[in-house]
Symmetry: C2
Subunit: 284 residues, 2 copies
């Protein structure tokens, strides 16, 4: 399988892995956000993943930008009725796929990839917000012109200030777990993939366990946005309490579902982790 | 989405739809044949589906043969640890994808596609059996040289007798539900897709109901091969008894799982049905 295949499969495996308390998985869904929306999102995202792999189907000397790849992925992902299914996953997968296709799937390799992003890439990232409704925090007042909810309208400001996609990620790294991966060479992703390799059993069980580990080790930033930081810390403590036991996690999944707790940033991390683990040879 | 995307998504939706009594679905699996094997099979099959769509990534004037497309699909599908996940699905999808990409997704259109198959296509079909273990019936003694389990070794006999893939399908149409679709212009597939369009609710529920309908209306040929025709008729009667009620079907799924009853040919039909329904505009 190619890195594009592995990235697509990673999206499928993320949503198939169960229980991942608070997230849609193959045993839990909402009326307006169903399991099959994620399946269609993963298939639809593929043209964006191909661009991330450097393949635009045309001129082999023209390497597509990561921002265009991300925008294309989000556009394709959004062709189902569940709205935003995998925006954050794609934000992590796009640079990882680029790193993998250029033989640099490592912390330093993906750091080179993100460091090479441009203002055009930042523009693609902003335009991607026009396709789906993404839960984000209000920016600080001085950064209002860069509110991602402005979509493409923020592009003149990006150009004026010369902000690359890496710069944009750095601006929100303290309050968004995905942006934080961009600024740390995907430190948590690679560490989680190590744990998946060291674990045994079906890959979907390993991913469910690594989800619990990741949620326990750091509060989920989507939960913090939606419910506040204190609640996010409590959610992590409850994830820690199940101690990786998937039966206990199933009870926690029922509770989070009931409470409307959705640790979606941690699910994004699991998709990225699945990709790295597949590239490293974990079997399905 | 392209026909290739729809075909791939159809494979995902087939296995996600639940309950489909006796088959792996998102709530039921076996230790050695797990849900994620089907996800990986669907992603792996994609290069074969692209060939079916007439796209070999190279010379636009050279249209790949359906047998090569099928063989490539099965080879890619088999790169996971569950062995045969979607052999029968691909046998149905390959001509349907070809029909869709040439604006002939209709009974007469796909009949033209199958009628145009060649001896080379038959050779590709036989070679595909070398990648996975497919449950088949013993052929009649006079057809022993054409036993599919011979794989590529049967190719000289195919050439000697000038048998096309359509001819090969016709030879087993009376005992294999998939071959029967090939010889009837996919009559059951299109009829089932009509029912999916007329139904409402989430597509996975519609596909679960159409599975029950199809199983009730005709005995599953894989069940007949594995357990005999009388048992296959009884299985259909039990499917009819649930009268399309998905809660009752869940109990039947538990029972069939326990009894080792696997109506796999009917699941293949559902994957083909999902493809046609997606092409006809059913939303996910």
């Amino acid at each position: 399988m190619t890195p594009v295949d592995h990235a697509q499969l990673a999206l499928h495996l993320e949503v198939a892995s169960t229980p991942k308390p608070g997230n849609v998985d193959r045993h839990r869904e909402y009326d307006d956000l169903r399991f099959e929306h994620f399946l269609a999102g993963a298939v639809g995202a593929r043209p964006g993943l191909r661009l991330a792999a450097g393949n635009d189907g045309g001129d082999p000397d023209s390497i597509p930008g990561l921002g265009d790849a991300f925008e294309r992925g989000v556009r394709g992902m959004s062709q189902q009725d569940g709205d935003n299914t995998q925006f954050g996953c794609l934000l992590l997968l796009v640079p990882l796929v680029r790193a993998a296709t250029t033989d640099r799937l490592s912390q330093s390799g993906v750091t080179s990839v993100t460091a090479a992003t441009t203002v055009d890439d930042a523009a693609g990232f902003y335009r991607a917000f026009e396709y789906v409704d993404v839960a984000v925090d209000d920016p600080p007042p001085e950064a209002d012109a860069l509110d991602v909810r402005r979509g493409g309208d923020a592009v003149p400001t990006l150009r004026e200030r010369g902000l690359t996609l890496a710069d944009v990620m750095a601006l929100s790294a303290d309050r968004d777990g995905n942006a934080s991966e961009w600024t740390t060479g995907f430190e948590r992703t690679f560490r989680a993939a190590d744990r998946v390799l060291a674990d045994d059993g079906p890959i979907t069980d390993r991913l469910a366990r690594v989800f619990l580990d990741c949620l326990a080790e750091r509060p989920d930033t989507l939960v913090a946005i939606e419910h506040g930081e204190e609640r996010a810390r409590a959610v992590s403590r409850r994830a820690a309490d199940v101690q990786g036991d998937l039966d206990a996690a199933a009870d926690l999944a029922d509770a989070f579902h009931e409470e409307g707790i959705n640790p979606g940033t941690t699910a994004d991390l699991v998709a990225a982790t699945a990709f790295v683990a597949l590239e490293w040879g974990v079997r399905v």
